[in-house]
């Protein structure tokens, strides 16, 4: 039970924070068509966070989704650090999108056969959305990787900067063995392998190189975060926490 809860929190917190980062592009994208695309994905991600918090509330009698999302402290959040980094330029946001969304897609694909029914159901429900996120990411990565010297250099340096954070997605939890034994989730290690297999040829097609040395940035899953998370959390809580909990807005 703690194992499932832990998994749900990790997923929900990732999606919550990442969705907020994506939402910051609304109205500020490089071209209107693409602006609209990022807003859609932001809605999807925040929607997935809501779905996971709702499972927590329903199955494990936790607090309601608004409370889980907007009233927890920084060290209670279990998102990986990759998703909390500020958006920087579009190259940075696109490469993060590529790295995170492939992991997200595969994670839900693995969960589609989970023994924990609510997650298996959710996985089926959002399959199409995730498929689109990955398609969007691949399309941009392969184009900008191959377009101009500048765009190639930008994408490569974003990939270099983000790679170790991306490996942090797969920071193992204390419950890996239990999740695997109970057939809830095949674990971060398997996920990471599948992810590497999936993204490597696409990165190659984009004429980019995976950094040769790697040192995964762990800690996020245990509540250790960069200094970029707290300011965002403060914003997220600003209005909703200005009145007593449970006040309607």
């Amino acid at each position: 039970m703690e194992a499932i809860k832990n998994l749900l929190f990790r997923m929900a917190d990732d999606e919550l924070i990442y969705g907020h980062r994506m939402s910051e592009w609304t109205g500020m994208g490089p071209i209107m068509e693409e602006d609209i695309a990022f807003s859609s994905m932001a809605q999807d991600k925040i929607g997935h966070a809501l779905a996971n918090y709702s499972i927590l509330e329903k199955e494990f009698q936790t607090a309601n989704p608004d409370k889980l999302a907007f009233f927890r402290k920084e060290n209670e959040l279990m998102n990986c650090q990759l998703v909390e980094l500020s958006n920087h330029e579009y190259d940075f946001s696109l490469v993060r999108h590529f790295l995170f969304d492939h992991a997200d897609f595969i994670r839900y694909e693995m969960l589609s056969t989970s023994s924990f029914a609510p997650l298996a159901q959710l996985s089926k429900k959002i399959k199409g959305e995730l498929k689109y996120h990955v398609l969007h990411a691949d399309t941009w990565l392969t184009r900008l990787g191959n377009a101009t010297e500048e765009s190639h250099a930008r994408m490569q340096s974003a990939l270099n900067e983000l790679w170790n954070y991306a490996l942090g997605i797969f920071e193992p939890s204390d419950f890996e063995a239990e999740l695997i034994a109970e057939k809830i989730f095949d674990g971060e290690k398997v996920l990471q392998q599948k992810w590497m297999e999936k993204i490597s040829p696409i990165i190659e097609k984009a004429n980019l190189k995976i950094p040769s040395s790697s040192a995964p940035v762990y800690g996020g899953r245990k509540g250790y975060h960069t200094d970029q998370l707290q300011p965002l959390l403060t914003e997220m809580a600003e209005v909703i926490s200005s009145e007593a909990e449970g006040t309607e807005w």
């Binding site: 609304t26 109205g27 490089p30 929607g47 608004d66 579009y90 500048e150 009145e243």
Partner: protein, 328 residues
């Protein structure tokens, strides 16, 4: 037959000084019959010019209008409001897209239009030069600014230019959601805690003047206006639209215990016209000419966005592609 050669042809016509009398008569007769004008049709140069100006300004207003609300997305309280707000602001960018596309069919490129926005040559709705200071401002914008826009857009959707009408039809459909989510959030604050109520009252007090400015200064019925109305470019006078807005929304504000900061606001039942204090048209002029609280910031943000998006756009340019006016 028209294919890719369209851009040249229409550009010449747009600058042609002679509006053939018979063509003009046919054009006006078509409008009188309630038929739409389509992009490839002959049209008076002034009709084209005024439409471009109007649709372009409308598009700019959607883009700039996305800013005051967009900056509240991370702060929006709770999942429901947040998701609705992202979708709403996203729609506004979508509206800009639809409107720029409609204006493009008249022969001005999207690039030119955005440049004219950036240099200040082309205007956008004045209300977006005011700051959104609190969450209550977001609800005032979502409810009342969108309501004002709907009055305007519903009128214009019955205009004579096909592509603009088609864009507006879709826009109005989405606006009904904007209005509803804004109204819902507005009522929630009005009927919520004392702090929420006060925050809303304060926001409305600050926004009332810009709201009264929204439909533009009082009409002096000039020959110009008459012509634009005859051509169904302008579908209602500024005063008519403002009056319609007040008719529909003043009761909705008052019914939930919010007051309007104008002691002289009342409807003259005999004339059907609303009477109100002078909303300070000098301020309106000052702000439109660049001296509002947020003009510089709004344009600076757009500049920043265009600067930082440029590498993405130029990386994907293909000089071998043939650029033509869309058929939208």
């Amino acid at each position: 037959m028209y294919g890719g050669g369209y851009i040249q042809e229409e550009k010449q016509e747009a600058t042609s000084p002679i509006d053939d009398a018979q063509k003009l008569a046919e054009f006006e007769a078509r409008i009188d019959r309630g038929e739409k004008i389509e992009p490839h049709d002959w049209m008076p140069a002034d009709y084209r010019k005024q439409l471009i100006r109007m649709i372009e300004q409308h598009a700019h207003s959607e883009v700039i209008g996305a800013l005051p609300e967009g900056t509240w997305i991370t702060r929006a309280p709770g999942f429901r409001r947040k998701l609705a707000l992202i979708a709403k602001v996203q729609d506004e960018i979508g509206h800009a897209h639809l409107l720029y596309s409609a204006a493009e069919t008249l022969g001005k490129s999207r690039e030119q239009m955005i440049n004219d926005l950036l240099t200040g040559k082309s205007k956008y709705s004045n209300v977006f030069n005011y700051p959104a200071k609190t969450w209550a401002d977001v609800t005032v914008i979502g409810f009342l600014i969108d309501a004002g826009a709907i009055v305007n857009q519903v009128a214009n959707s019955k205009g004579s230019y096909g592509p603009y009408c088609r864009a507006l039809e879709r826009i109005c459909y989405e606006e009904s959601f904007h209005l509803k989510q804004g109204h819902d959030a507005f009522i929630t604050l009005a009927t919520g805690t004392k702090a929420q109520h006060d925050m809303l009252q304060d926001a409305l007090n600050r926004w009332w003047k810009p709201i009264m400015h929204f439909h533009g200064p009082p009409d002096k019925i000039s020959e110009h206006t008459a012509k634009l109305m005859r051509w169904k470019v302008k579908m209602a006078t500024n005063d008519d639209m403002r009056n319609q807005f007040l008719d529909m929304y003043v009761p909705k504000i008052l019914e939930i215990g919010i007051t309007i900061p104008d002691p002289n606001l009342k409807k003259n039942e005999a004339t059907g016209q609303w009477e109100f204090s002078d909303p300070d048209w000098d301020e309106f002029k000052r702000v439109i000419n660049g001296d509002g609280p947020c003009n510089a910031e709004r344009l600076a943000v757009r500049q920043y966005v265009e600067e930082h998006g440029k590498w993405v756009r130029t990386a994907m340019m293909n000089p071998n592609q043939k650029v033509v006016i869309p058929f939208a």
